[in-house]
């Protein structure tokens, strides 16, 4: 019991870490792989140099190193839980100035909850958590008890180093110093001026506008969508140690401490799901299932809850088509033609889904285009492992081996895609191997040979071209028949159905069984 009493905070922290782990690993398992797919961490000097050449870059680099493990939701959840646990531990240490030991621990939950909440959304990246951890570490290193001159020297050195490591999060440190040195206002002013100068001077050397440097480069996907919570979290980390001092001294008993701690954990477990936008998450879930080709699961999921957004409906339709069951699509809610072929709107998410559909119907060029567009649309100017993989595949299918080789060489520098890159490298220049490959060979056969310009408003005609080119293209056949149904054009449907019947081709008229064979080969 004494052991428990002594280590109650450790036990509660483990409980907290465990609850974070469960949240990301089991409650929302698609969140982390979704984040991972938008980056491609590489173990090479160029990648490292590109990151550390901007303020905050080292934190971004470290966070991207961690995020690559999000490839698997279990390892991702474990890493994220440990990082949040570390943040909580550091915050507890920072709150040490309070005479109320219980409060020091319980208050540390607040900023960690806030970060957890932010990272569960779509905009804020893990880099934000890493910069806060670095800020906390530097705050702990602040030599508060030292005499004035050494204190000032160390403080300035810390500000300069921290600025380069954590970017504008240096102001969290400044806030901490200011609140710890209320009696020496000039130290606070000096710290603020020093941090400000760091930002202003860096603007001469790094190619970003000042506004961007103040908000941080690489901490979130879209700085225009930075929330109040984001700002409040930064403030909270810096100001909480000061607030903690004012908490009245009161020693809690072991049981009370345990109960409050458990309540905080339980509250977080029950409240945190509300931080996840359920509709956004639904898109991510479907996206993950499409990425991992879990067609059966998609259909099962749709049966539980009818998808009603263009991207989720498109995922369902793709899954049905892959199973040879797209004729059953109208049993589910549909979303117009957008639910079959989401229109490109320069957002990476919508490009991603259209990219998948075009790929499987045999529009290799269009899939490649959308993969490239999605990569260009990434807000941090980075590369995406998933998109890079698709670029390799489409270049391979199109016989653009030198470009495919270029991308594969990059992917060889990754941890989780190296094996795939090595295996795919063996296919380069090997026409026979590609032709006999279940997916690449098939797509090479069904892709179009007669040129025309793609038009997404005439997608049904393009499906028709695909069928005319290769009558075994059952994916195109299914989509051809689906499109007029989505438009409510019975006459067109009849016309297309008659055309399909006129082909008098077993492969077409008996689509269901063949589709299964086809989708098996693609899997």
């Amino acid at each position: 019991m004494k052991y428990l009493e002594k280590n109650i905070n450790v036990i509660l922290s483990i409980g907290f870490v465990f609850s974070v782990f469960v949240f990301f690993a089991y409650r929302f398992p698609s969140l982390l792989p979704y984040q991972e797919q938008w980056q491609m961490f590489m173990f090479d000097s160029e990648y490292f140099n590109a990151r550390i050449s901007v303020p905050g870059g080292l934190s971004v680099y470290i966070s991207e190193f961690f995020v690559q493990f999000f490839y698997n939701s279990l390892t991702g959840a474990l890493i994220l839980a440990l990082l949040l646990g570390l943040m909580m531990f550091l915050q507890t240490l920072l709150n040490r100035h309070t005479s109320n030991r219980n409060a020091a621990f319980f208050l540390s939950f607040i900023p960690v909850f806030m970060v957890w909440c932010l990272i569960s959304g779509s905009n804020v990246k893990v880099a934000f958590l890493v910069v806060l951890i670095f800020s906390q570490m530097f705050m702990l290193l602040y030599p508060e008890g030292a005499s004035l001159l050494p204190k000032c020297i160390v403080m300035m050195a810390e500000i300069i180093v921290l600025y380069w490591i954590a970017g504008p999060a240096v102001f969290v440190y400044v806030l901490y110093v200011a609140t710890r040195q209320l009696e020496h206002k000039y130290i606070a002013i000096g710290a603020f001026v020093c941090a400000l100068l760091c930002v202003l001077i860096s603007a001469y050397f790094v190619p970003y506008p000042l506004s961007r440097l103040f908000m941080g480069v690489g901490f979130c996907s879209n700085i225009k969508e930075i929330s109040i919570l984001y700002i409040c979290t930064l403030l909270m980390v810096g100001i909480l140690p000061f607030v903690a001092v004012f908490v009245p001294e009161r020693r809690l008993g072991f049981v009370t401490h345990l109960v409050i701690g458990l309540i905080l954990i339980l509250v977080s477990v029950f409240c945190m799901p509300f931080a996840v936008d359920s509709r956004e998450y639904e898109v991510k879930e479907y996206d993950y299932l499409v990425r991992t080709k879990q067609w059966d699961k998609i259909v099962e999921k749709a049966k539980e809850k009818n998808p009603d957004m263009p991207l989720t409906v498109a995922s369902l339709n793709l899954a049905l088509a892959m199973k040879g069951q797209l004729s059953h699509a109208m049993e589910f809610f549909q979303n117009g033609v957008q639910g079959a072929f989401p229109r490109f709107d320069s957002l990476p998410q919508s490009s991603l889904m259209a990219m998948e559909i075009y790929y499987y119907v045999g529009l290799v060029n269009s899939s490649q285009r959308l993969a490239f567009e999605a990569q260009e649309a990434l807000p941090d100017y980075g590369m995406s492992s998933r998109l890079m993989k698709r670029l390799v595949e489409t270049n391979l299918i199109n016989g653009q081996y030198e470009v495919a080789r270029k991308y594969l060489l990059l992917m060889r520098n990754t941890l989780f895609y190296r094996k795939w890159a090595d295996a795919t490298m063996a296919l380069l220049d090997d026409e026979d191997a590609i032709s006999s490959h279940s997916t690449y060979g098939y797509l090479r056969r069904v892709r179009l040979n007669d040129d025309f310009l793609f038009s997404d408003v005439e997608i049904d005609k393009i499906m028709g071209q695909l069928i005319m080119h290769d009558k075994s293209n059952v994916m195109a056949t299914q989509y051809l028949l689906l499109l007029p149904q989505l438009e409510g054009d019975q006459m067109k449907y009849q016309m297309y159905a008659n055309y399909i019947l006129s082909l008098k081709n077993d492969t077409i008229s008996n689509t269901d069984s063949l589709n299964v064979v086809y989708s098996d080969s693609l899997n």
Binding site: D44, E46, A203, Y204, P207, Y208, P209, R212, F344, S346, L363, V364, N365, S366, Q368, R369, F372, E373, Q375, E376, A377, L378, Y381, M383, I397, N398, G399, Q400, E402, V403, R405, K406, L409, L410, R447, L448, N449, D450, D451, F452, L453, F454, S455, I462, Q465
Partner: protein, 518 residues
């Protein structure tokens, strides 16, 4: 470890009876004095004709001997020459040749190839370096990109303007006046489109859309006197091919020409170059009295996109009065339709026989008949005009069949530049001031990522084998580079441009509105 094992004198060297498989292909190229070291690497090779090219080259040993004296040596993972020694050797051998003896170590054994040569040109590149844009070869969305400059005598690259400073915008079409960056223009496109014109160290942001014109100023070219800037104005769209060897089709739905008088911020228009036809890609002649441009009959998109053919035309321009001439000549009538020459001018080139009095077309002239001509670039000595030839369309970089052609402006003789053309795309090009060197963009490397090549042209118009812009550790550099180089140009000196103030002006929406007059 590799470097440590790479400090040895090649011993027990076995001979290989072939030229070394080096990247980039610098064998037999002609280089100017002052060029950066032509570093190269040796690719994996088979030790005899029966072996496939595989394995790792552990070490490369290269000795370079000058015909007129001098010798340098490099040993390492790749041939990496000391920059001072290199410059000294090349200068010492101006007009002569350099002989490269290459040994490579593989599986612990040294192999020596046949020696190869590089030739040192008598023609200098007096310019400081190159300017270019680096951008991913994408479709509609653009990511990080920028205008850069590169010193030709070393490997240093500097920013001119990068779009990370102006998020959501792109930068393009940078052009200096006859390689002089004291007069420099480029566009910013995005939420707040402007045209930045820098003259004598001071830049001004212009808003170039006027009620009289189609849209913003697009493809620029300076008048040699520096007062005027010719622009096209285009409504540009793009579509996407569905077959494997084609990707993008960029096309205009309308386009005209206009000249900006930078002294009174006025666009000068002419009904002769503001017609229902599509006029684009203006370029002034060396004396500034003629404006070359390309012109096509409108076609319906998307069905007739392969029917678009741009002819090479010209119109006089009087810089004293700031007026266009009153006729348009057609130098190469690419459009196969039997229509008469446009604008009351004459058909002066292929069909007219002016440049071919016998009426017989040369091979080169036959090559451009019925094709589409773009990017006319007259040499600054007034002797040549280089352009690209494609089967159709106005945006050659996405056409694999595109080649560079050279027209002798005195005789009209036109020929493909076979010395520099490849099976892949050759596209945008520019001359240096003495017009004995030109730089061009080509996709011959991997078929997608455009790289820059330099070649020399002698007095008879004969070009030398081009060489890829040198880089330190070029194989790694170009493999890792995820952007294309485009719109290259020479620059006589380093471009001085205040990016920060320009960016704040763009983001702040500051610009000068120009007017237009006929």
């Amino acid at each position: 470890m590799l470097l440590a094992s790479c400090s040895e004198t090649p011993s027990d060297v076995k001979s290989i009876d072939s030229l070394p498989p080096i990247y980039p292909d610098y064998i037999g190229v002609t280089i100017p004095v002052g060029i950066a070291p032509m570093d190269f690497c040796v690719e994996a090779f088979g030790t005899d004709s029966t072996q496939s090219a595989e394995g790792v080259v552990e070490c490369v040993d290269v000795v370079v001997r000058g015909e007129k004296g001098g010798e340098i040596h490099s040993q390492g993972e790749f041939a990496d020459f000391d920059i001072d020694d290199w410059h000294e050797l090349v200068e010492q051998n101006k007009g002569g040749e350099l002989s490269f003896t290459v040994c490579a170590k593989k599986d612990g054994e040294w192999y020596q190839y046949q020696d190869f040569k590089m030739y040192v040109s008598n023609y200098d590149i007096e310019e400081w370096g190159l300017t270019y844009r680096r951008v991913a070869p994408g479709y509609e969305v653009y990511s990080e990109m920028g205008l850069y400059q590169r010193c030709l005598s070393n490997f240093e690259e500097y920013e001119i303007m990068v779009n990370t400073r102006i998020p959501g915008n792109c930068v393009n079409c940078h052009t200096s006046n006859r390689t002089n960056p004291q007069q420099f223009v480029f566009h910013v496109r995005g939420e707040k489109p402007v045209t930045a014109i820098q003259k004598e160290g001071k830049h001004t942001m212009y808003s170039t859309k006027t009620p009289e014109t189609i849209g913003l100023c697009v493809y620029p070219y300076w008048h040699p006197e520096g007062r005027y800037l010719a622009f096209s104005t285009n409504t540009t769209r793009q579509s996407f091919h569905v077959v494997k060897d084609e990707r993008i089709e960029v096309f205009d739905q309308e386009s005209d020409l206009q000249i900006l008088d930078t002294e009174n911020d006025m666009l000068i228009l002419s009904p002769l170059v503001k017609t229902a036809d599509w006029e684009t890609y203006p370029a002034f002649s060396a004396d500034g009295k003629t404006l070359y441009f390309c012109s096509a009959k409108p076609q319906n998109f998307p069905q007739d996109f392969k029917q678009v053919r741009y002819s090479l035309c010209s119109i006089p321009f009087d810089s004293y009065s700031g007026k266009f001439g009153d006729k348009v000549d057609t130098l190469i009538k690419a459009d196969p339709s039997p229509n008469l020459p446009r604008g009351g001018g004459k058909l002066v080139a292929i069909q007219s026989g002016r440049f071919s009095p016998s009426g017989q077309m040369s091979e080169g002239q036959r090559g451009v008949a019925g094709a589409s001509i773009t990017f006319p670039r007259p040499s600054y000595d007034g002797k040549w005009l280089m352009f690209t030839r494609s089967d159709y369309g106005c945006f050659p970089i996405w056409h694999k069949e595109v080649d560079l052609y050279l027209m002798n402006l005195k005789t009209g003789e036109t020929r493909p530049l076979d010395e520099v053309n490849s099976d892949d795309t050759e596209s945008f090009h520019n001359w240096n001031l003495n017009s004995h060197w030109f730089v061009f963009a080509s996709r011959r490397g991997d078929g997608l990522y455009t790289r820059l090549y330099l070649s020399s042209l002698d007095d008879e118009g004969k070009a030398t084998k081009p060489f890829l812009l040198p880089q330190k550790n070029p194989k790694h550099y170009y493999e890792r580079m995820m952007q294309s180089y485009n719109t290259p140009d020479f620059t006589s000196e380093k471009v001085e441009f205040d990016q920060r103030s320009a960016a704040s002006e763009v983001l702040g929406g500051k610009s000068t509105q120009i007017k237009a007059r006929f």
